[in-house]
Symmetry: C2
Subunit: 224 residues, 2 copies
C-alpha cells in the first residue's frame, strides 16, 4: 500500500426497485482495476472541482453508469478505513435511492451487459470491496424506514391500488422470499386511509378478477 | 478558495451528557484559524497514516481535546460540500457519543477555559462551520433513538432508581426546558420491568424523602 496523505473519497448508491414481487438492487460490473470484473454498487469518485456536495457525486454516478435521475436519494452511512480498498485509505458515503419500476429506463429494465438487478436479500457471493455489507446495511435501513414511515410510496407507479401498495410494503418488510411477511389488510387500510400522502383518483378503477379496485396516486407535494 | 484535488476529511463528535436535569453537549473553543475563537464540536482531521478507520479519528479527537474515552460512540451522518469550510471542499463525519455524568473527567465536569457544556437545545448563537446544524441533527437522532430503544441506559450512573431513569428519558424527549415532557410512570415502569437490559441490585435502596427506592444497574453485556 502506498503511503498517502489523503483518502480516496467516493459516493456509492444502493438503488432499489420492486419487480415481480421482489425487492431488487442495481449492480454494475467494474470495468477497471481494482476489482475489475466484479459486480459493485454504482459509484463515483468525488470531484471537488465539479461536485457541490456528496449528493451531486451520487447523482452523477447514476447518470454516468445507468443514465437515470432518481426522485428519492438519501445519504445513509459512511464506510471508511485503511483496508477496504487495495488502493489505500478510502471513504465511501453510501446513499440509497428508490425508483418506481415504470421510471427505470427501458434499456436497463432487465439485466443487460454490465448491469444487473440482483435480489436485495441475496445479491451474490462475491461483490467488489465491502459492497455486500453496504447492501445489507441499506436493506436493513429500508425495512426500518418502511415500518416507521411512508417511504414505500416512492416505489409506486403513478396509479396504484391499495392491494398493490400493501404488496410492496410486504416485499420490503420480508427478510427474504422464504419468509414472506403478510400485513393485516384491515390495519393496513386504516393506516393509509388516515394518510394525507395518498389520494383517490376520482372515477379510476382497476378491473381484475375481483370487483373493481379504486386507484390512488401520491399526493401532490408528498415528501419523505 | 484554492483549487484542490482532495477534500479535507475530519471526524467531529457531539458528546452528550445529562446534568441538572438538562441535556448538554460539549463544545471546545477553536484555537487556530479558520473560525479561531468560535465554539465548535471536538473533532480531528483524518490521519490516513495513523487512523485505522473514522471511529479511530473520532476517539482520537476526544482524547486530544478533553482526555476522555467514551463507552458509546456511533457514526451519525456526513456533512460535506464545497462551501462549509473556508479552506475548501471538506467532509465531516459526525459521530455522537454518550457519557454518564460520573464518567466525565473531573477537570471538564464543569465549563473551564476552552471547554464548555452547552444546552443541547440552545448551544449558542454562533458556532464554527456548520456545527450548529450538526448538533441539531444529533439532538434529533438522539430523541428518535430514545423513543425506539434503550439508549438512555448509556447515560446512567452505575446505580440508579427507576425514577432517575425516567427523568433522563424525559429530559432527552423534551424539545427544550420550556416544553417539559412527562412520561406516564406506570407505562414507563412496565416497559423497563420487561427489559432484560436492567437488573435490580439486591438489597440496595436509595433513601430519600419518600419510601426507599430499589436501585438498578445495567445488565452485564448490555449493548445498544
Amino acid at each position: 500500500m502506498v503511503r498517502q496523505l489523503y483518502p480516496l473519497v467516493s459516493a456509492d448508491v444502493a438503488l432499489f426497485s420492486v419487480a415481480d414481487d421482489r425487492l431488487q438492487v442495481l449492480l454494475v460490473r467494474r470495468e477497471h482495476a481494482p476489482e475489475a470484473g466484479l459486480w459493485a454498487l454504482p459509484g463515483a469518485l468525488l470531484q471537488p472541482l465539479g461536485d457541490a456536495d456528496l449528493e451531486a457525486t451520487a447523482r452523477r454516478a447514476l447518470r454516468e453508469k445507468i443514465s437515470v435521475e432518481v426522485p428519492y436519494l438519501a445519504q445513509l452511512r459512511t464506510f471508511a478505513g485503511a483496508s477496504r480498498d487495495p488502493r489505500g485509505w478510502s471513504l465511501s458515503v453510501l446513499h440509497f435511492a428508490l425508483l418506481p419500476r415504470d421510471q427505470v429506463p427501458a434499456v436497463v429494465r432487465s439485466s443487460v451487459d454490465g448491469v444487473r438487478w440482483a435480489d436485495a436479500d441475496a445479491p451474490g457471493r462475491r461483490l467488489a470491496f465491502d459492497h455486500a455489507q453496504q447492501i445489507q446495511s441499506a436493506r436493513t435501513a429500508l425495512r426500518q424506514r418502511v415500518q416507521d414511515h411512508d417511504l414505500p410510496l416512492h416505489l409506486m407507479p403513478e396509479r396504484f391500488t391499495l392491494t398493490q401498495l400493501q404488496r410492496v410494503c410486504e416485499v420490503i418488510l420480508s427478510p427474504g422470499p422464504e419468509q414472506p411477511v403478510r400485513l393485516d389488510k384491515g390495519a393496513f387500510r386504516r393506516r393509509f386511509a388516515k394518510s394525507p400522502d395518498i389520494v383517490e383518483v376520482p372515477g379510476a378503477f382497476e378491473h381484475g378478477a375481483q370487483r373493481p379496485a379504486q386507484l390512488f396516486r401520491v399526493a401532490t407535494g408528498f415528501q419523505f
